[in-house]
Amino acid sequence: MGDILSIIAKRLGLGLITLLVISIIIFFAVELLPGDIAQAVLGQGATEDNLAALRAELGLDRAAPVRYFEWLGNAVTGDFGNSLVSKTSVAEAIGTRFANTLFLATYAAVIAVPVAIFLGVLVALFRNSVFDRVANVVTLTSISSPEFFLGYILILFLAVKGGMFPAIAKIDDGMTLIDKLDRTFLPALTMVLVVVAHMMRMTRASIINLLASPYVEMARLKGVPAWKVIVKHTLPNAWAPVINVVALNLAYLITGVVLVEVVFVYPGIGQLLVDAVTKRDFPVVQACCLIFAATFILLNLAADVGSILTNPRLRHPK
């Protein structure tokens, strides 16, 4: 067990360094974008006069490295600063929106992961049958379609024609959980359709791969039923690659859903990031990107720890 803890500690340390590097890259990437926040805010009405006034007010007249280290100094103490545009604190601007994104991601994951793994086991069991082919074609079609297109299709059939679910996933704090689940069903379903194929195919592939191994043949020869061979003998050994793919898809559910948010008007963090980039609102861009980066780092760590825990051989390296 001590090995695992030291791995976790080591990985967390490396993660922090990664975050630092990412914050530098993001800062200078925002600097490189043409135009600055003063121009973006004032738009057509910008004149030399009021541009200079706004830049001075925001402190943009100072050198870029000075501003970066000032931000870094505050960030280390937990203060991510204020949005340059709305003047509210970044934590406040991101807070509810990130919670919304997490809510939707969890909702989608709770449906997608069991469905994908269950389907994966089933298609491995009935591989090359009609069921296998149909499941593959359907999931591959849905992963190959752009998310916004899937969203529109669902809206057309389930909201406009069918009237079963609301087309606009507008949620607020006053809603009950049931209301929220109903309101956000269509965006969650869209995301489920996007991620299921990847996880299902990985489960199927790793199980089929193991089915060719001698110990499975042994199990068959001694008369174990086919489903039991898969669930008891192959699945435990298939977990490692499956967990990795699941982690990757969970990260995608959090970071890659801007289009779904736009189509369903869901107040998540993706839209916030896009707005912040157009306005060159550096503190918000920085905070959003660091959240995304941290999500990837933590989920990858979880995946590695998960595969070690499920595989005794990895726990006791020679």
Binding site: P34, V41, L42, G43, Q44, G45, A46, T47, D49, N50, A53, L54, E57, S83, V85, S86, K87, A93, Y152, I155, A159, V160, G163, P166, A167, I168, K170, V262, V263, F264, V265, P267, Q271, L272, D275, A276, T278, K279, D281, V284
Partner: protein
């Protein structure tokens, strides 16, 4: 069938204007072959509905709502901000549904004979949402927010001529200018110039979001939505809805879907390609309101071949404007006549004949210019208007019949305003509406204006422009603008094929008066207090 429909409309009209009572209305309707329940239904749905009802929650899907939108009136820019501003804040004057100038927080205004000193009498009943009375100090702080060295406001240029603003008692302000401006009361409708409470130090308190508008903000989430309740102390008629909810719906498809499924009662900006399909829905009305937002194609009047007025005229005769409106704008635009004053603007001339599409006349002018054929480049980008490049291609098809070869050039979307506009001798431009001809001409047609996009120099035009600026005699002023429009049309370097309309939609449950203001979407951004539920 058609006669019957017309008769029904006539009846409803007469009834609405009060010429017909319910009993007569029923009698005529039945005589015209309607059943009694039908006639009675018509009375309640069409006639009685014209009298505003109080109550209900008006939910509107608004586009261009951004997380970065703030309450600072100096940075108002997006459609969402403009709609919000008109709901929780008020202006000194307003643009009425008939596109005239009306009082809002100012009851009346008057000018010195040279139009250099303006006096505004403020409404004595007006209050802010926190109950505080609206006084001259607030008005001065609100206007000064856009003035002075430190101001970051985009409306700074608009008030550049203002030298001082003084209070004369609690409810009168005096504005002094360094040059006469007969348009000042119109300027006060500019969307930046909202009235906000003054702080003790004389600066404006915009951060709190407190205004003196018809509705008070109860919750505001930038980019997501804003909710309001009625401001019971509002100083004017209207504000029929109990509550307002604006939802940020930036995706055109999401807006239309929300309106169809009944999640909202009205939406801004309908996608033109599908507007006709949306209009087929029996529960939805698509409004198609002419606006002052022009498409201009300015030619550099000091660059060959555009330095010859006959070449300019040839190009003006070589475009089939109606065809462009039908095919590029799907009918949601109003044909232009090469002067930058739309029909909804004050002093818009009505007697200048529409220039037709006439290839023969174009050939005639070309010949007069000593040419038998002509080849010119026209630059455009689709980021300026979806379909801009297509419009130029269609124009070049029209011009071929006159022996003119127009090469439509697709420019990069990024940096169009800095690299193409004011740089290429002929390009595609879209202008937002300005409230008065003076503002538009001063901005983009005056000889020394930095944005004189056609490099047009016309002595008479510029004389008239200066004269009209401070002219307080309405009739004389209208005559001066008429002459300027004629000059722009016959000598100017700008082809104005059309003015784009505002296209927005509402549920049939929502009713409004006979006219809709052309300044912004949703009745000039004032549908929230002018409209009501049937």
């Amino acid at each position: 069938m058609n006669d019957k429909k017309e008769f029904k409309e006539l009846l409803t009209q007469d009834a609405k204007s009060g010429k017909l009572g319910r009993r007569d209305f029923m009698r005529f309707a039945v005589a015209a072959g309607m059943t009694i329940p039908l006639a009675s239904g018509l009375w309640t749905s069409d006639v009685a509905a014209a009298t505003p009802n109080k109550g209900g929650k008006f939910r509107v899907g608004v586009h261009d709502m951004n997380t970065s939108d703030t309450h600072d009136p100096g940075t108002y820019q997006s459609v969402g901000q403009i709609q919000i501003a008109h709901t929780h804040r008020s202006y000194l004057t307003e643009i009425t549904p008939e596109n005239g100038l009306g009082p809002d927080m100012a009851d009346s205004w008057s000018a010195s004979p040279d139009a250099k000193v303006w006096t505004f009498e403020l409404n004595k009943n007006a209050t802010f949402h926190n109950g505080k009375k609206f006084t001259s100090a607030d008005a001065i702080a609100s206007l000064n927010h856009h003035r002075g060295e430190k101001s970051t406001s985009a409306a700074k240029a608009l008030l550049a001529a203002v030298t001082d603003i003084k209070a004369k008692g609690d409810h009168t302000i005096v504005i002094e200018l360094n040059q006469g401006s007969a348009d000042l009361p119109w300027f006060m409708t500019d969307y930046h110039l909202v009235m906000i409470p003054a702080k003790a130090d004389g600066s404006a308190d915009w951060e709190s979001g407190i205004g003196a508008g018809p509705y008070e903000i109860t919750s505001h989430k930038p980019g997501i939505g804003t909710s309001y309740k009625r401001h019971e102390g509002w100083h004017r008629e209207g504000a029929y809805f109990d509550e307002i909810e604006m939802v940020g719906l930036n995706d055109p498809n999401a807006r239309q879907t929300a309106l169809i499924t009944g999640d909202v009662d009205a939406i801004t900006s309908v996608d033109l390609k599908t507007a006709a399909l949306l209009g087929r829905n029996p529960n939805i009305v698509v409004e198609n309101v002419p606006s002052g937002s022009a498409i201009t194609l300015p030619m550099f009047c000091d660059v060959a071949p555009f330095d010859n007025v006959d070449v300019r005229l040839a190009l003006k005769y070589a475009v089939d404007r109606q065809d462009l409106v039908d095919k590029i704008m799907f009918g949601t635009a109003t044909v232009g006549n090469d002067y930058h004053v739309s029909a909804g603007m004050p002093y818009a001339p009505t007697d200048i004949p529409q220039r037709p599409y006439d290839p023969d006349k174009a050939k005639f002018h070309l010949k007069k210019a000593g040419m038998s054929n002509l080849e010119v480049n026209l630059s455009a980008a689709d980021s300026i208007l979806p379909g801009a490049v297509d419009m130029c291609v269609l124009y070049s098809e029209h011009a071929k019949k006159a022996g003119i070869q127009i090469n439509a050039i697709r420019e990069a979307n990024d940096g169009y305003w800095s690299d193409v506009w004011l740089k290429k001798p002929w390009c595609f431009v879209k202008w937002g509406a300005r409230p008065t001809p003076d503002q538009m001409f001063t901005l983009a047609y005056k000889d020394d204006a930095p944005w004189n996009e056609s490099h047009w120099q016309n002595k008479r035009f510029n004389e008239l422009l200066l004269m009209a600026k401070a002219e307080l005699d309405e009739k004389l002023r209208a005559e001066q603008y008429r002459e300027m429009c004629q000059l722009a049309s016959d000598d100017g370097g700008t082809v104005i094929p059309f003015f784009a309309n505002f296209v927005y939609a509402r549920s049939k449950k929502v009713q409004h008066g006979a006219n809709l203001a052309a300044s912004w979407e949703l009745d000039g951004g004032r549908g929230y207090h002018r409209w009501w539920f049937a």
